[in-house]
């Protein structure tokens, strides 16, 4: 059957367009507008041109926050992806334990982000948190509210705990989609466990792993709530990631202009990542 093309159908989307304009486009335009002005109390504005962008791009504070952001994203990807694949490989393929494992894996994903932050904050407290006390009892000095390394350690442990499950579930779905015939052929050929992983499982998981990497990349770049509740960006500025720095600037100091310029730079980075994600997804869809 030929597809009917009726451009008048676009009018049906008009209400959505109006809604999106009000809750996304106009606020974004306002941010662009603020990013070129200096604001004073009493709604007084002065045009400043590209000054704030220049200031943000040259500011050591922004460079440091961006550096911490990349470090954080790099570390969690380097841990979560291999760990997620390893757990998915170790999970049972059939039998009653499948559901148990799946539920256990899904649990961290169901917990609200601020609760995750609160749980880990209490868990890691050196005075009465289970983790903090245990590490200190082992003779290792641990205090995530004072020590930079400990703060990062807790932050990364928290993110790994919260999000590795997502990689596990995606990788597991990829593994389950491999027909038995592949494994039988490998067995006949006498392939080693490594060869099965390298030439059957890994290529078959490529699609879901790409999605996992991109999802975690984007999500970790926008992370706010968990580190905010856990460390509040401290000690000092040690765990002040991009989003936390932005909120400090916009709400703590009420520097609307620089905060707007920084939001736009941040927005452009996330937009570029989203475009890559969207392109990869649509390409993969077109292939299947």
């Amino acid at each position: 059957m030929d597809k009917v093309v009726n451009n008048r159908a676009w009018f049906m989307v008009l209400p959505v367009l109006v809604l999106v304009a009000f809750n996304a486009v106009i606020p974004l335009m306002t941010v662009v507008n603020y990013s070129v002005q200096e604001s004073f109390a009493g709604n007084v504005f002065f045009f400043e041109g590209s000054k704030w962008f220049e200031q943000v791009l040259h500011s050591e504070r922004f460079h440091a926050a961006l550096g911490r952001q990349f470090l954080f994203t790099g570390i969690i990807l380097a841990i979560e992806i291999p760990l997620g694949v390893a757990i998915a490989l170790a999970m049972p393929r059939r039998g009653p334990w499948v559901s148990v494992c799946l539920v256990l894996m899904a649990l961290p994903l169901l917990i609200p982000w601020n609760v995750v932050g609160a749980i880990w904050n209490i868990f890691a407290l050196p005075s009465y948190g289970l983790l903090g006390r245990t590490i200190n009892a082992l003779g290792i000095s641990f205090n995530f509210t004072r020590d930079v390394f400990d703060a990062w350690f807790t932050l990364i442990l928290m993110d790994v705990w919260h999000w590795t499950s997502l990689v596990v579930l995606l990788a597991y779905a990829g593994l389950m989609a491999i027909p038995d015939a592949y494994y039988q052929a490998a067995k006949i050929d006498g392939a080693s466990r490594w060869a099965v992983f390298r030439y059957i499982q890994l290529p078959k998981m490529r699609r879901v792993l790409t999605i996992a990497v991109l999802l975690r990349l984007m999500d970790s770049f926008m992370i706010y709530t968990e580190p905010f509740v856990l460390t509040g960006g401290g000690p000092g500025n040690a765990t002040t990631l991009l989003s936390i720095d932005l909120v400090k600037m916009a709400q703590g100091q009420f520097d609307l202009g620089p905060a707007a310029a920084m939001s736009l730079i941040y927005f452009l980075m996330v937009l570029a990542m989203s475009w890559v994600f969207y392109t990869v997804m649509t390409r993969e869809e077109a292939r299947t």
Binding site: M29, N33, V36, S39, F53, E54, L268
Partner: protein, 92 residues
Amino acid sequence: MNLSWMAWTPTTAAFFISIALMLVGMTVWQIVAPSEERIGVLRIPTTPGDRLFLTLLGAAYIHLAWLGLVGPSLWWALAISVLYGLAVFRWV
């Protein structure tokens, strides 16, 4: 309706009007001469809309790079962005 509290400036207005004009222009162009997706140097199918998006996103990065590495006079950045946009529309 008084919108002065939003403190719009002629510069931001010009910025948004040019983007709006580009979108309208692209729509008209698509209606007058409908074009299909094609595969360019990025090896992905792109429509003219995708190319406009890539042009605008790239132009933003070019301007930021110019501000960060060279200086506050952005006319050269604009010129490079136009060239970049033409390249995107020709080859991507």
